[in-house]
Amino acid sequence: MSESPKISRRGFLKMAGGAALAAGAGLPRIAEAGEPRGFATLIDISRCDGCPVCERPLCVSACRDLYLSRVPEPVRPIPKLFPRGKIEDWSDRKHVSDRLTPYNRIYVQKASVSENGETRELFIPRRCMHCDHPACATLCPFSANQKYGNGAVVIDPDLCFGGAKCRDLCPWAIPQRQSGIGIYLHILPTLAGNGVLFKCDLCYERITKNERPGCVDACPRDVMTFGSRQDIFSEAERRAAETGAFIYGKTENGGTSTLYLSPVPFDRLNESIQKGPGRPHLDPVKPRMAETETLGKALLLSPLAGAAAAWLGVAVTASGKDGKTGGD
């Protein structure tokens, strides 16, 4: 379960596959290479009651117990961002737990849905979906955000500059920024960066020690099931077939490691929930990274094209006079 810092045999074989491309083997389809692996979570919202007698839902409290103290205190005054002056400071609102914040990485949405003339309340724990092809991680300019072999998408707070590119790229705008902390303070605090982005890391440290994420362990109603991706996906399909439930997260953004199971269609839930900053939607999501696939494949084949053109050029030149063109 633990991460190996070395290139795995599988990774090596994939790289060798890349070399095979140069031999004209052709590019594999995304579904064939780099298949998603690791853990997944099933969140069955028909089981969640939002912990009505608790100050906060227990999954939220467990997460806060584990992570709230990990956010360093920001410097005072927090440097003003040039030229816009905008900073994001949650340090005096640590208590907020009805949305995602740097200090609150999971929260429970409430939906009221009418069914057969009756209003039914449903509760939806929301946090990072840990996407299979997370643009937030793959396009992080500093690799501060990475997708690990165990399925977790993790931001390294020591490397994050706080530009919030990950939040812009996330279809649900999950990561939340705290200004006044992080590496940017030591470089160009007013000109580049603006803090550190925080989000659920799937309790990376716990799962590498064969423990379950804190939110999963804390739930008294087994709303969340955590396990191998294959088992979780099978279980979701089984329950959906059995109860006629709807699944969200299987195809969204090209697939994720978090599957929601709902007794009512997600478009109806989406209409009912409160949406906005820190409060993600339940819309269908098309993977924007897929738009780049054709050009990306062309790029990977371009060395081959350049070499082929050169050989052709040499053949043409050799058939000419002396082939000397100066060597610039």
């Binding site: 190996s4 810092p5 070395k6 290139i7 795995s8 990774g11 994939k14 890349g18 594999p28 995304i30 290479a33 780099g34 692996r37 030229p83 816009r84 299979d132 997370p134 643009a135 991680a137 793959t138 396009l139 992080c140 300019p141 500093f142 690799s143 990475q146 997708k147 690990y148 530009g163 919030a164 590119k165 812009d168 790229l169 924007r288 738009e291 780049t292 050009l295 990306g296 494949k297 062309a298 790029l299 990977l300 371009s302 060395p303 094209a305 350049g306 070499a307 053109a309 050169a310 050989w311 050029g313 040499v314 030149t317 006079k321 082939g323 000397k324 063109t325 100066g326 060597g327 610039d328």
Partner: protein, 243 residues
């Protein structure tokens, strides 16, 4: 088109059409890469670049990435073409030679009025030195970029240390590329180098300039001529340089 003296036109052909096409393909795609690479940083909206006419797209990372990929395809193909084509034909005129670093220092000092320039062959020693440096930077950019693209397309769970290495090699080489690009343009501002600029557009430099500053090159070209043609006689006694 081979490098040669065109006495009647008063010019020396320095760059073939193919070489100029290579240069401009790399230069223009490199410029697009530089710009779209910058736009992969969260700066376009922050610094109001998105509000410049024609730059509305610059705040969309996916659009920038698509343009970056397209420009990379051209840049890499041109770079590999350059390497393989000139490598196979053994065009080694721009390869650094022993003593180029010391000679480069002397030449740069002469630009600022300290000492005199030595007689040059086709290329200045610091041109050869800069070429090797730029080739190294471009190689780093291409190799790290290929790893990043492979990860983006096929394996987001590629080994994190490998991804981290590729990212920081790419970022570091990007900064070096900007510096080398600026130095390349800066060299053209220096007065003694200005007569060279026309060659990358037209393919030739003035013969009087070449005779004065690149006598070893002119000598080589003239010794290739049949005996008795004008200009060859006066070079008698010089040893041609083998490039």
């Amino acid at each position: 088109m081979t490098e040669r003296i065109l006495e009647k036109e008063g010019v020396v052909v320095r760059h073939s059409l193919l070489e100029r096409v290579e240069h401009w393909t790399v230069a223009l795609s490199g410029l697009v890469l530089l710009l779209t690479g910058l736009f992969e940083l969260p700066i376009a909206r922050r610094y109001f670049i998105t509000e410049l006419p024609g730059f509305g797209w610059s705040g969309d990372y996916i659009t920038s990435l698509k343009i970056h990929y397209a420009a990379s395809t051209v840049f890499i193909a041109a770079g590999v073409f350059h390497l393989v084509y000139h490598g196979l034909l053994r065009h080694d005129g721009m390869m650094p030679r022993k003593g180029d670093i010391r000679a480069s220092v002397e030449v740069i000092r002469s630009f600022f009025g300290k000492g005199e320039e030595p007689p040059f062959d086709k290329y200045l020693p610091e041109q050869r030195f800069a070429y090797a440096g730029m080739a190294f930077i471009v190689a780093l950019l291409i190799l790290s970029g290929l790893v990043k693209t492979w990860k983006n397309l096929f394996d987001p769970q590629l080994s994190p240390p490998l991804v981290m290495t590729a990212t920081w090699v790419h970022n570091g080489a990007f900064i070096l590329f900007i510096l080398a690009f600026a130095a390349h343009l800066g060299a053209l501002i220096l007065k003694p180098n200005r007569p060279l600029v026309r060659s990358i557009f037209t393919g030739s430099v003035r013969l009087d300039y070449a005779r004065k500053r690149h006598p070893l090159w002119v000598q080589r070209l003239e010794t290739k001529r049949p005996e008795g043609t004008p200009g060859a006689k006066e070079q008698d006694g010089r040893v041609p340089e083998n490039t």
